[in-house]
């Protein structure tokens, strides 16, 4: 394994991941020794509007995928409306390839609790929820323990640190539905219903949880807040690019020597990240990769120098998403990979809208046929047509996410499909997988 060059190493920005090196940082006394809860004291000494302005100035953008400016989102909450406001933290991490929020909540849960207190104070919420993915049991254990410790030390509950600000924080475990990562589906789920997305408008900022103004933010977004409060907006902007400021945890997985979490300033390239990760696995050459989970259009080896920030990835025709980079090599088949993703979207489609529910059902079957060696040329047209009818016509982004690997593999790797259809690639699936395909 070759060592990364010094100039590439300098692109590492350990901020949110820094405390992970302290094995006991999940305990409140250790956390407090590592600058913990200093930001809450500082934040409670200024007016909430000044905090919102600070976050706007920092240029912080949502870490959950869409990259919406966080300060702007907080500013949308109508103040003086006489209604309770809510903060809901989206910890339903489940986008294939994404694994940054779970370690954060497991090894540094108090940073999320502290961020939640500051964000709630800024938007004038006296109740906040962390909706954590059901399967994330160890992270939930640590998080519940952190909440309990924070109550005991007076960081949560009534009259926090003598400020007159009250906050109750509840950790709410989901029950295994990917769709609940969509913010309005998450709100329905939190209200005790099936997790199905809502029509917007009204946006959650006006009518979110319990039809009250609600901010829904990702774990990484909220965990960034204490650092901005401590270090200031200008310090935050010293990382990343002009429009995509700050550090980002890049989740690298797949055919590389050292998969893992690498926190770097936004705008780093895949080439540099692979260098940090010790290069490709021996014998593997980069073929295709997801810039931000499977719901973002796949990129290929020619995009290796694309800056990994919101603008750079968009210019390359994809989306930064959750910076979950699944890296595949020339030994992986893009058709097979797409089929497995579609099985996932098919399973997770909530069934509310027809394009997503029916489209995924049929695309899965078409893929099974191609992979079992019985595909036809018309199948490729059917796939393209179905994907086009899902994309932009579904109720929420899940349908769009399902269509993107299909469209992007058809665009970049049509030959791989033809190899199955024309018999050059051996079938990957057996006949029994074909029930219902004809």
């Amino acid at each position: 394994m070759t060592q990364p060059r010094p100039e590439v190493l300098q692109k590492l920005t350990p901020v949110l991941t820094k405390r992970w090196l302290s094995p006991d940082a999940w305990k409140i006394d250790v956390y407090e020794r590592l600058d913990g809860y200093a930001a809450v004291r500082k934040a409670l000494d200024v007016h909430p509007d000044d905090l919102i302005q600070l976050i706007k100035d920092s240029g912080l953008r949502g870490r959950g995928g869409a990259g919406f400016p966080t300060g702007l989102k907080w500013g949308f909450i109508p103040q003086g409306d006489g209604k309770p406001h809510y903060l809901v933290i989206n910890a339903d991490e489940g986008e294939p390839g994404t694994c940054k929020d779970l370690p954060l909540m497991t090894y540094d849960p108090h940073s999320l609790v502290e961020g939640a207190i500051i964000a709630s104070y800024a938007i004038r919420a006296s109740r906040a929820y962390i909706y954590i993915r059901g399967e994330a049991v160890h992270a939930a254990r640590r998080l519940r323990n952190a909440v309990k410790e924070a109550y005991a030390k007076g960081y949560l509950g009534e009259n926090i640190l003598g400020s007159g600000f009250d906050l109750d924080l509840v950790v709410h475990s989901g029950a295994g539905a990917y769709i609940c990562g969509e913010e309005t589906a998450l709100l329905d789920s939190l209200e005790g219903f099936r997790g199905q997305p809502r029509l917007r408008p009204p946006f959650p900022a006006v009518a979110g949880l319990y039809a009250s103004p609600t901010v829904v933010n990702n774990v990484g977004t909220i965990a960034s807040v204490p650092y901005i409060v401590l270090g200031g907006a200008d310090w935050w902007k010293s990382m990343g690019t002009e429009k995509s400021s700050g550090p980002m945890i890049y989740s690298l997985s797949g055919r590389i020597a050292n998969p893992g979490q690498y926190e770097c300033g936004l705008g780093i390239t895949l080439r540099e990240l692979i260098e940090l990760a010790g290069g490709m696995k021996p014998g593997h050459n980069l073929k295709f990769w997801t810039p931000g989970g499977s719901s973002t259009p796949l990129l290929t080896a020619e995009h290796i120098d694309t800056p990994m920030d919101f603008e750079g990835v968009a210019a390359a025709g994809s989306i930064l998403g959750t910076t979950a980079m699944q890296i595949f090599s020339d030994q992986d088949c893009p058709v097979y990979a797409t089929w497995r993703w579609l099985e996932f979207y098919h399973h997770e489609s909530c069934g509310k809208c027809t394009p997503c529910r029916e489209g995924n059902y049929w695309m899965v079957r078409t893929y099974r046929r191609i992979l079992s060696g019985q595909g036809t040329y018309q199948d490729l047209d059917t796939l393209q047509d179905t994907a086009d009818n899902i994309f932009g016509r579904s109720f929420c982004g899940l349908g769009d996410g399902a269509a993107t690997p299909v469209v992007s593999t058809l665009k970049w790797f049509r030959q791989d499909y033809l190899d199955y259809i024309e018999g050059r690639t051996a079938p990957r699936l057996s006949e029994k997988a074909l029930v219902g395909a004809h």
Partner: protein, 400 residues
Amino acid sequence: MSDITVDFSPAAAPLAEKLLEPAREIIARYPVGRERSALLPLLHLVQTVEGHVSPDGVAFCAEILGINKAQVGAVATFYTMYKRRPTGEYLVSVCTNTLCNVLGGQEIYDGLTEHLGVGHDETTADGKITLEHAECLAACDYAPVVTVNYDFAIDEATPDAAVGLVEKLRNGERPTPSRGARLCTLKEMQFQLAGFADEREGAVADGVAGAPTLRGVTLAQEHGVAVANFNIDTPITTTKPARDESAKAVKDPAPAGAKPPAAKSEGKIASAAKRAAGAVKTAAAAVVDKAEHAVEHRKAGAPVKAGDVKDPEVRAAETRNPDGSTPTPDASQTVAPVPGTRTEAAGTAKNAPAGDGKPAGDTQRGESIVSEANAAHEEQSTASENPGWQNAQRGTEEKK
């Protein structure tokens, strides 16, 4: 809500006897009038006893929340973690989503299927192991992964390691998970999913971070890389005094005499079921908790309002999901007859009338909310000034 007493039906009474107190703790976490938020944790709670959600479990949740069984059933069947058949002592999940799949997850799953003789969501005859193939478990840097009761059990797993794991489990051993807490049974795990602390001594401390998690930050440490100029005393620009009326939050209506929810919900769980059993008196088939001050009394099967019905605010989900007494075209029979025997109760539950109205809520909600949609327009105009964002939003709002 926590002050309401409920006459449980014969179907729900045995569960109520065990679960009433923790159920009330769960309900107390949510604002008054928003008790339905407790449904997901309540369904997890039911699984602590049954290992799955049975018709009795559905009845218990419905009766304690004052909604009908069809509404509970609709939710219970939507989420994959609510099991519809009895489960084994351990749930073994193998990730077969794309990345784990190509790195060997499929072979591991196929190997386990063959070794155990069960398929997806099936349980071995000895009642020890339920097997499932899971979608992305958020540990791709350790691919392929296998979890036991959702704790990461084997990282970079192989078919042999997975077979070795299930053999140990079947022999009564509890191998230490790679990055989770020491193993418990699936039913015990459900108690934590219901939102209660893990009371096992030291369990929270179990599991150290693996090398992949720490790779970037370790590399930075080894090479002395740090972000410069981090000064925690950097001043925040202020434009107004910290404390004025505009800084105050509007609170939820407080439950009468209630303690802070989290204070209630943490810390006293292990014996909760026993204490509940002791605290609840059972008379014939009805359970009436006389320890709590009763402000409302409810009979099983009686049409009980869900609390939000008179709320002038337009509710997204509730508009589509009226409670049992809301007159909707197909809800005429949502009030189930009170069953006389336990068997009959199970039968009734299995044939519960479909009570939910058809999803008519969207348009209605969109129209009636217009008056307060100013901020939404603001948000929209932002989107139109920046169309790139809107596209990004459409494409990526699923990311977690």
